[in-house]
């Protein structure tokens, strides 16, 4: 026992013998991270935010028109602008840092399935504060999905909730409040980026756990793993519930024919970010791809960046076989969802394991798979 206590009091320094040999893959200190962060901030992140802000503004305008004059035509206009904003959101969901992280922009914007009971309760009471943490699952795009697509199976009845329903005033008020909250949130974030955060983000160009490159890359991987692979495919397909399927937990459930479109946009956003592609442009700049290529990261005789991009091609091939409605896909032939999951997971492995290791970035989130 004494020996064990002695051993416990030892500090053993393990000297890794490979550190002074050819581990060229793990030393990224010569890479120009300032250029990387500048490209990310100026050509990708902020333009994506601005685009999203514009789409949300259109949604606000069209919602105001609908609320002032609830007709089926005006409802369709709201739906169109809702979908456009929802797609634009897919381009910003991975940047959960700074002000966005502080105000829980992601959770507020896209928690699904939405809490319909809570929404109805808010509407009937007429009193709520969407800024409260307890209200995060009663707002955002999924809440709007319910409000403009899910209140009834036919459009005339949906319009009725805002026109002839005894509680029409409260419905209008809630719809307006949810849309306004989206706008407030993105306005806050854009203002923050434009008033100093952009500079501090780029200046934080080191290699520590809290550096911008480390944080952003972690968010990129986490968004792809948790929000895309798990949320959009894995959970509905029963991957995390011993095969019990959840067709009602798809993204865009009430509209029900957009889950594939939203998925594909989110994958495109992921790939574009990986490649350092400027938002809404064919130009590419510094990105994870160029960082990997700078370090000459090779796996099985092939550039890792090519392996990852090739896997994106595989992913699109697989997701294109899916039904527009993942609810239907889950019910009709879940095996296609599983195949899509496997294709996505393969790129989670390439990015989360191979890429992070090559870039010498520690994963800053853990999987809750304990036992």
């Amino acid at each position: 026992m004494k020996k064990i206590l002695l051993i416990l009091s030892l500090i053993v320094i393990v000297v890794a013998c490979s550190s002074n040999e050819g581990e060229n893959n793990s030393d990224g200190n010569n890479y120009d991270r300032t250029a990387l962060l500048t490209n990310w901030a100026d050509n990708i992140i902020v333009p994506s935010y601005i685009n999203y802000q514009t789409k949300v503004q259109t949604l606000v305008t069209n919602t105001n028109t609908f609320v002032a004059n609830p007709t089926e035509v005006n409802l369709q206009t709201v739906r169109t602008s809702w979908l456009e904003a929802y797609k634009a959101y897919q381009y910003i969901s991975m940047y959960n840092l700074g002000k966005a992280e502080e105000i829980n922009l992601n959770i507020a914007s896209n928690t699904y399935p939405t809490n319909t009971i809570g929404i109805e309760s808010n509407i009937s009471s007429g009193t709520y504060d969407l800024a409260l943490l307890s209200q995060l699952d009663k707002q955002g795009f999924p809440a709007l999905d319910y409000l403009i697509n899910g209140l009834s199976t036919n459009d005339a009845s949906i319009v009725g909730f805002y026109a002839t329903n005894a509680n029409a005033t409260n419905y209008k008020q809630y719809l307006t409040a949810v849309v306004s909250k989206l706008k407030t949130n993105i306005d806050t974030v854009v203002t923050d980026w434009n008033s100093g955060f952009r500079n501090s983000y780029i200046a934080n160009n080191g290699t520590s756990v809290s550096s911008s490159v480390n944080k952003t890359t972690n968010l990129f991987v986490k968004n792809f793993e948790k929000d895309i692979r798990t949320g959009k495919i894995g959970i509905p397909a029963g991957v995390f519930s011993s095969g019990v399927k959840y067709p009602e937990k798809v993204e865009g459930y009430y509209k029900n024919d957009i889950s594939k479109e939203l998925l594909n946009v989110s994958i495109k956003a992921t790939q574009d970010f990986f490649n350092g592609k400027h938002f809404n442009s064919t130009t590419t700049g510094e990105g994870l791809k160029s960082y990997l290529d700078f370090l000459n990261v090779i796996r099985n005789g092939q550039k890792l960046s090519d392996i990852i991009n090739n896997q994106f091609v595989t992913i699109y091939t697989v997701t294109n076989t899916l039904n527009n409605s993942f609810s239907q896909q889950v019910n009709i032939d879940n095996s296609k969802m599983i195949i899509a999951y496997d294709a996505l997971q393969q790129n989670v492995i390439y990015t989360k394991l191979d890429m992070m290791q090559a870039l010498n970035i520690t994963i800053d989130y853990v999987d809750g798979d304990g036992d």
Binding site: K3, S9, I11, I13, V15, S242, G243, I339, V366
Partner: protein, 422 residues
Amino acid sequence: MQEIIFIQSKLTEMNFKKLSLSAFPILLLVLASCSNDDTTVEETFNYTVPTTYTFERNAVTSVDYSGQSSRLLMLDEMGKYFSTAATNGTVADDAVLSEMYLNTNNRFTGAGLNTSGKQLKDKTAASKDYFSLYLGGGSIAEQVSVRDLFETQFDNADAASQGATASAGVAGVYLDGTSKRLIAANGLEPQQVLLKGMMGACFMDQIANNYLSLNKLDESTNKADNTAKILVAGKSYTAMEHTWDEAYGYIYGADNLTVTPNVFKFWSSYINQVNADTDFNTLKADIDLAFRKGRAAIVANDYAVRDAQIDVIKAKLAMIPAVRAVFYLQEGKGKLATDNGAKAFHALSEGYGFIMSLRYTNKPGTNSPYFTKAEVDAMLTSMVSGTNGLWAIDTLGAKLDAISTQIATKFGFTVAQAATVN
């Protein structure tokens, strides 16, 4: 008996001079595996490996594998559900079995199982290496299909328990001596496919490809935490220690050495049975020692020794289904002439399940199984490829020999060595 592990470490003279030992209440050891320092002073330190799997911290046990024990006991109860239905002539309800597999609706009688929060299904083909990192050819598609295969066994048992007597192409009951067994239309016993198959798809997979995986043991900050002995909140163990214990629990977690005769379940029991054959009579001690030595090494932050034990366990444990599969195939082959072959089906079903298990082995240094999934599937398909599956006894013997040879050759023993326990 106590085994002592000696660690030779090298401390460079230069570093040694820099260290003022009197200023340090603790000894700093530099464990260097590099050999490019010429001026070294040899230092030795040792730690003891306990004679039983007993580890404590501050006089409290630091060993916990209750979740593993629960799953072993659940599978045990599921097995008994089949035999009870067969013996009593009652229906083996596939819905009940599905609920047991998922642990819903309070289907277990064992203390605490229903409320354990554990289930077998979500740990079936669910290892980090094979079914999250997709090493060894794994995927979620495969996970789904093997879980479905077990669900199919529930359906087959249900069909076999409707009152018919088993015959070629007919699911029913077969009276095997004094035991009644449920047999599917193709001759396979759903109970044995489940029990032995799950020993592979769940227990072996979790041991070899999850808890003894460096991707699991060293994940997140585990290594630094273990080295600094930062404990899991509210527990007496480090995350790495616990991970190792969970591997251990999937083998020994349902054993009871406090009763006579001792109780051994699943892998623990089959390790004993293989070890009873003089051809393989070191396996039990080797596996047992490797678990203790590896655990002691983790406590002592000796990761090289830990890793060596991982290889020992993976290699030796893989021998168990290999030897047992060959044993049962040969036992079954010897009974093919009795009762139109039905007498052989119990052994063949056990063999079938152990072959399934081979897909979840992990050959040290490869992060892949000894046999690929395709190879395992080919063996399984071959067994039931005749008309009405196992009932095609005229052609079955040669197939069983071919599979036996294939397995024995891969693992470096002979069919004869495995076939006779002596």
